[in-house]
């Protein structure tokens, strides 16, 4: 079955009344989550996940992915109107979006942001549609060594391209693996790292960790700085929307460049945050109007927004086809797939084609629905931020705590949320990247299994990672990537005084 036929079939799955309703609900919840500080996309999806345990997987993934798109849109809204990024990945949007809003061009800035974000997302989905057949047929040849090499490659690229210092990224990855290892070992049945605590036998749920790190951690950061919502009005003028849409094609170079950066960063696990910064930086350097950046230049809104959304959507490709999520949010969704009893990887395309293509079709629709809904509801959500933070903040806290309870119904998990909350705050302060930790927790077991199986195949020889051209290329590439930071450190020492710009971690 060709990809197009499969996609058409997917549309028949996604285009039911029930699913469109879920899509709308997801997008609206997502916008809410994205607008509120302290409730980002990873956290919002995590809080919803326990409620989907009893749903069928297609409905569940449509709800969760739509929430994700909504959260991305919502994050840009507060960036532009209030200079407060609702999402780490929309930080770059504040650089030019907020100046535009201050200059009375809020409608224009929001329209550019949403339309270019929608464009980026569509490019991402089209790339997924075209590439998935290829990636899957490629991945179907994978055995345990290949899988281990791919996991290795994913983590190596975090170390090489990630936002944190390489050593800190390694610490995050290892901590994630270690937290993931707590509980029963899936191979031998041994109780690992439980230290005879009954509450640890179940293991530590990555969902609880995400709620702590992202939810409470984010909240601590927001509170410490003391938030004030002072910003432009969220009222939109329909005529200005139309005229901004008409002017949009002028920025096609920025949009295409942003999408390309986003797709690349989404498929390799760079994530939307890094993508949006990279795209902004590139646009500033390459654009004719580069000098206006930071003063309210539309291109400075369009570039990071397209990259942000195309990275967010294209991160779904490695998640589905290889079981490697390209962002923290898709890591949570990957965990969801496993909870719903699906095993991500190339076989998913064969065995559960309805699920995969239903999801991809819903991504086309969800983003169109998203753009329309967000344009229609911005004034409402912006008005919500006039409720004082001393009321919204505590309510968000109760949502996080209740959400942590719904994961497993364990009182102990509530304490874990508190502990990981303070951990999340400290990690943000010290620039330890959080996404690799979540990723390692989610795929830790699978990576370890793949490693053990390949070692059994080769009777303990590490040479199995170079036993065929395919796995050899993957492993060599991973090792090269691990050496990148060593090389850059060496080069930086030769060129003293050269300070690299830092990108905040996701």
């Amino acid at each position: 079955m060709g990809n197009l036929d499969a996609l058409m079939h997917g549309f028949t799955v996604a285009l039911t009344f029930h699913h469109i309703l879920l899509m709308i609900a997801g997008v609206l919840l997502g916008i809410l989550v994205g607008v509120l500080p302290g409730l980002g996309a990873p956290n919002g999806v995590t809080l919803l996940l326990p409620l989907t345990f009893s749903m069928d997987p297609v409905s569940a993934i449509i709800l969760l992915t739509s929430t994700y798109w909504g959260a991305l849109f919502g994050g840009s809204t507060t960036s532009i109107l209030f200079n407060i990024p609702g999402e780490p990945s929309s930080v770059a949007t504040t650089f030019d979006g907020y100046p535009m809003a201050r200059a009375g061009r809020a409608t224009e800035a929001l329209t550019y942001a949403f339309m270019s974000a929608g464009f980026g997302a569509l490019v991402g989905v089209i790339v997924i549609t075209l590439l998935s057949g290829f990636v899957t047929s490629f991945a179907l040849r994978f055995g345990p060594p290949e899988y281990f090499a791919v996991y290795f490659l994913a983590f190596a690229s975090f170390v090489a391209f990630g936002s944190g210092a390489p050593l800190k990224t390694i610490v995050s990855i290892c901590l994630g693996f270690a937290f993931g290892a707590v509980g029963m070992d899936s191979v031998s049945g041994a109780m690992r790292l439980t230290f005879d605590f009954n509450d640890l036998i179940r293991g530590i749920s990555f969902l609880v960790v995400v709620i702590g790190l992202f939810g409470i951690g984010e909240m601590l950061l927001t509170l410490e700085e003391g938030v004030e919502f002072r910003g432009a009005s969220g009222r939109l003028n329909p005529r200005e929307i139309i005229s901004a849409i008409r002017r949009l094609p002028r920025y096609w170079v920025a949009m295409l460049r942003g999408s390309a950066v986003g797709v690349w960063m989404g498929i390799t696990p760079g994530g939307p945050t890094a993508a949006s910064f990279m795209s902004y930086g590139l646009a500033k350097r390459l654009s004719k109007r580069g000098a206006n950046f930071g003063k309210g230049e539309p291109e400075g809104v369009i570039a990071p927004e397209t990259a942000d959304h195309s990275a967010g959507t294209s991160a779904m490709l490695p998640m589905l086809a290889l079981g490697i999520p390209g962002s923290a949010t898709s890591a949570v969704m990957l965990g969801g797939l496993m909870i719903w009893g699906l095993s991500p990887g190339p076989m998913l395309f064969v065995e559960r084609a309805d699920f995969v293509w239903g999801m991809i079709a819903s991504m086309y629709l969800g983003n169109v629905v998203g753009v329309v809904l967000v344009l229609a509801t911005v004034p409402f959500f912006a008005a919500m931020l006039s409720v004082p933070f001393t009321i919204i903040g505590p309510i968000i806290v109760t949502v996080c705590i209740v959400g942590a309870w719904t994961v497993a119904g364990a009182p102990f998990d509530l304490w874990l949320v508190v502990v990981f909350g303070i951990t999340g705050w400290a990690m943000k302060k010290l620039d330890y990247p959080i996404a690799p930790l979540v990723l390692a927790m989610v795929i830790g077991d699978k990576a370890e299994d793949a490693f053990r199986q390949s070692m059994i195949m080769s009777q303990g020889s590490i040479g199995v990672l170079w036993s065929s051209p395919l796995v050899g290329v993957l492993s060599t590439l991973a090792i090269v990537l691990l050496l990148v930071p060593v090389f850059t450190a060496w080069r930086a020492r030769r060129r003293k005084g050269h300070v690299e710009e830092e990108v905040p971690s996701e």
């Binding site: 109760t398 302060k429 010290l430």
Partner: protein, 160 residues
């Protein structure tokens, strides 16, 4: 109040302790190799060692930059006050939830925080403190049929 240097070193300390725990926990099992491949302790042991090494390296890096990092403030007195004002009620919330269940704890927490930290009028505080648990009840118990943690009060009211 809290310099970056100090926070970096605290962070390294925590990572070191976690690494040591991973090593110790792994030692409860076989950390080596048997006929059926790497044993249960193999992976955690090596993770622990990597954590120990990295924590020492990060600490050394921080110390070599110490003058610069010591001057960088991470947490002001004002910020610390705000964080504690948020964090202590949160701990109380979780502690109370263990005994009285989530509904009562949520109501008490919201009432306390909105009134004493937010200084909103009683009407608003009570509205929020009653509204959120009621909405949660409708959402979780009725709509999604996910029971939340309940305590003696719900049992006494015949709701659990």
């Amino acid at each position: 109040m809290l310099s970056r240097l100090r926070l970096e070193l605290i962070g390294c300390g925590v990572v070191f302790v976690l690494g040591a725990l991973a090593v110790l926990g792994a030692m409860e099992h076989s950390i080596g190799w048997a006929d059926d491949g790497p044993q249960a302790g193999y992976f955690p042991f090596r993770l622990g060692v990597v954590l120990l090494v990295c924590s020492v390296l990060i600490a050394l890096q921080a110390m070599s930059n110490r003058t610069e990092l010591a001057g960088e403030q991470m947490l002001s007195r004002e910020g610390a006050r705000r964080i504690l004002g948020f964090f202590l009620p949160l701990i109380g919330y979780v502690a109370i939830a263990q005994f009285l269940g989530l509904y009562i704890a949520t109501a008490l927490y919201l009432l306390l925080v909105t009134r004493w930290i937010g200084r909103h009028p009683w009407r608003t505080c009570i509205g929020v403190a009653v509204g959120v648990p009621v909405v949660s009840w409708l959402l979780f118990e009725i709509w999604f049929s996910v029971p939340l943690l309940k305590g003696p009060v719900e049992i006494w009211l015949g709701l659990a």
